[in-house]
């Protein structure tokens, strides 16, 4: 099956998902990101690598945080950034998604950063660009439905590599709402591609996809058992609406059984790191003492996220 994000030469044309992305490409993105972390520490944080390029942030679903990180990354590369909150503009007037894309193409966009509540929307846009002979325009998936959040997955890989160096020796646990999580799918795809030998997911059965084990993970319903001896704990955000729909009884019970507390974290390796894609629900999936503790690397994740997004944009559209 043709992977829609690679061009005929196997090079990255779009970043749509980490599923099926070759190991070399993932490593190459992480390597590209490394020098950008230094840029962000400088007094003058700008590089001219995307000067003259127009990047459209197309957010069909609200997300201030992710949109901001993409905006900062693009601006640090000297690109022109246009933010479109599409949920409140043209589609509300009845314009179809691909009509919106065609119009923005006519404004000479070079790249679309897309967030949408329906799985596969960035893939649809990439396929449309290809079908209409506009392969010079790139698409970056900034999160689509439950499908993928590849830049989040990549910044997580960057963070793990930064703190733990070698993927081939690690035990990693992903905790929480895997069923609805695009972040979890991207993390699992990347971690299995990078050769993590012991990958676990921890959640109640209502929050695990029925065929999760085919993705190469071991499932645990008991958090204590699942956390035992791990090097990395990757927490997932629990959406409030999960209490509806009979998935969980109450936030209180969830916190008691699957919330990450210092006591449960003590079962992991002493030097284990704790990650979270944000925004956190303190007192639901994570205890403040852990979120603010010295094992948490949640803020470095955010910083690395800018560098990783700069690297992705450069690799797609840069000279």
């Amino acid at each position: 099956m043709h992977n829609p994000q690679l061009n005929r030469h196997g090079e990255l044309q779009h970043l749509l998902t980490l599923d099926g992305l070759p190991r070399e490409v993932i490593i190459s993105i992480l390597d590209h990101a490394a020098p950008f972390t230094e840029v962000t520490e400088r007094e003058v944080k700008k590089l001219p690598l995307l000067r003259g390029k127009s990047i459209f942030n197309l957010f069909f679903e609200n997300s201030t945080r992710t949109r901001t990180t993409f905006e900062i990354a693009a601006k640090r590369l000297t690109a022109d950034v246009v933010n479109l909150n599409v949920s409140t503009s043209s589609t509300a007037k009845g314009e179809s998604l691909l009509d919106t894309i065609d119009n923005l193409c006519a404004m000479h966009a070079d790249m679309f950063v897309v967030r949408h509540s329906a799985s596969g929307t960035p893939v649809l846009i990439a396929q449309h660009l290809h079908a209409t002979g506009r392969d010079h325009i790139h698409v970056v998936n900034a999160g689509d439905g439950r499908h993928a959040h590849p830049t989040q997955g990549l910044l997580d890989m960057y963070t793990i590599r930064h703190f733990k160096h070698d993927f081939s020796q690690l035990s990693i646990a992903i905790v929480g709402d895997v069923l609805h999580s695009r972040v979890a799918r991207s993390q699992i795809a990347a971690l299995t591609t990078l050769g993590v030998p012991d990958l676990r997911v921890i959640a109640p059965k209502t929050l695990l996809p029925s065929s999760i084990e085919s993705m190469g993970v071991r499932t645990f319903n008991d958090m204590r058992e699942g956390l035992r001896g791990v090097d990395v704990v990757m927490m997932l955000r629990l959406q409030n609406e999960r209490m509806a729909g009979a998935l969980l009884p109450t936030p209180q019970e969830y916190y008691k059984i699957w919330g990450l507390t210092a006591e449960k974290l003590a079962l992991a390796k002493p030097d284990a790191i704790v990650m979270h894609p944000g925004p956190m629900n303190r007192g639901i999936e994570i205890d403040s003492a852990v979120a603010d503790g010295n094992q948490a690397v949640i803020l470095p994740q955010v910083t690395f996220g800018i560098a990783v997004r700069m690297a992705v944009m450069c690799m797609l559209a840069g000279q």
């Binding site: 596969g120 396929q127 689509d144 439950r146 029925s210 999760i212």
Partner: protein, 428 residues
């Protein structure tokens, strides 16, 4: 018009005939096979050397989209598609807009179809008013208007008491009830088989239990009410097992599958191919193989196109927002032949699934076979010709099918309805 179809390989599944001979048609009926009846003078002789002469196909599920969805397809466009596909009779599900719940509406549809003078139509009436699952439709009146069975199409009834009463009422007259096994709450919000592909793509899943739980309920209610039950568009191996178990207990229940579920599985969704967004969802490879085997062994009674033309605007959107359905009238024969080819099944047995067996389900006695005196509905096709499915090559207004780009065997050369040559393919 008198037609002689010369030198064709005549296949009549109803009578297990498969031999090269002539077919003679007069007064809209089959006059004779083999030797010409006395005094027969053909107005036209069709050379069918190398071609198969078979009963016209009977498609037990094709949405022609009228009334209500004319922007997706019209009776005119879809009748042309039927002719190009060698389909001479179609059963029409009631999920039009408005639904087929009014005798007047059904009469009008039958009248429109008759005036177009292409395929014969056999409407399935709505089991409940507006398919809402609340009030019973006027079943006796609807049968008088032309309906042969009652169904809910893809809209399950929430209230099992209503379903039971609908079955009881239908059973009062011996009417057939055709039901799509969908447990509404278990299927709610899903749009792909709950399996590896849906998980990989992050698509909300529809578990197999959404089919089996509904099936179990339907079978129990059919047993209790004595209604003649037909299960439409089976999708899973476990569903077929349940039907088998009911039969083992002496229940007379029939079932069908679509060409999509015979050939495809959830993996064919690939990267969100909305042409594979179907109801029921494409299930696993194991399910598909079990359905193919079931059809091969006759445990699944018939194969249908489940023809559902959808406009491009409803497919060129994200998968979960896209409209389910695929066009299929013109692919029913080629995909039946492909299935026969892959399973080394004699043509006479394969064609039975789309002619004699489907006739039995709809209750058609005067067609679906080539006995002298039968209505002269025939399909003459070149079994050796192969073609690639393309948008331009389809007569249907719906160009959406998962089989686009695939090479398939079998090209219809002539379609004859009631003794009239209605379709002739000029080029090979």
């Amino acid at each position: 018009m008198n037609i002689r179809i010369a030198n064709g390989r005549v296949i009549d599944p109803a009578r297990q005939i498969d031999q090269v001979q002539d077919v003679f048609i007069a007064d809209g009926k089959i006059a004779a096979l083999g030797a010409a009846p006395e005094g027969f003078e053909p107005n036209r002789t069709l050379d069918a050397s190398g071609f198969v002469v078979a009963p016209g196909l009977i498609d037990i599920a094709a949405r022609l989209r009228e009334p209500g969805f004319e922007y997706r397809a019209t009776l005119e466009s879809e009748m042309e598609a039927a002719m190009a596909g060698g389909v001479t009779s179609v059963a029409i599900p009631p999920d039009t807009d408005p639904a087929l719940d009014e005798p007047g509406l059904v009469e009008m549809l039958c009248y429109r179809a008759k005036k177009l003078n292409r395929a014969h139509i056999y409407p399935v009436g709505a089991l409940t008013i507006g398919l809402k699952g609340e009030r019973l439709s006027e079943m006796a009146e609807l049968v008088e208007a032309g309906c042969f069975a009652f169904s809910q199409a893809n809209v399950p009834i929430l209230d099992n008491m209503v379903l039971m009463r609908a079955m009881q009422y239908a059973a009062t007259f011996g009417f057939r009830v055709w039901l799509q096994p969908i447990a509404p709450f278990l299927a709610r919000g899903g749009n792909a088989h709950d399996g590896e592909t849906a998980n990989r793509l992050g698509l909300p899943g529809i578990p197999v239990v959404a089919e089996t739980v509904a099936l179990f309920t339907y079978l129990q209610l059919a047993k209790a009410t004595g209604v003649r039950l037909h299960i439409t568009r089976l999708s899973s191996a476990e569903g077929l097992d349940l039907i088998e178990q009911a039969r083992a207990q002496g229940m007379d229940v029939t079932c069908d599958i679509s060409i999509n579920h015979l050939h495809l599985c959830d993996q064919d969704i690939g990267y969100f191919n909305t042409n594979c967004h179907l109801i029921p969802p494409l299930r696993s490879r194991q399910d598909r193989d079990a359905l193919s085997k079931g059809l091969l062994e006759g445990r699944i009674n018939a194969l249908c196109s489940d023809h559902t033309p959808v406009d491009d605007d409803s497919k060129l959107i994200p998968f979960s927002e896209s409209e389910p359905g695929a066009t299929g009238l013109e692919l029913l024969l080629p995909l039946t032949l492909k299935w026969a080819e892959e399973n080394k099944l004699p043509l006479v047995d394969a064609l039975a699934r789309v002619t004699s067996e489907s006739a039995r389900l709809v209750g058609i006695t005067k067609a679906g076979h080539l006995s002298p005196g039968a209505r002269a509905d025939l399909c003459v096709f070149d079994p050796a010709a192969r073609f690639t499915v393309s948008r331009d090559g389809l007569e249907s207004q719906g160009k959406n099918t998962p089989f686009l780009g695939l090479e398939l065997p079998g090209r219809v050369r002539y379609t004859i309805v009631e003794g009239e040559l209605m379709y002739e393919r000029k080029t090979a």
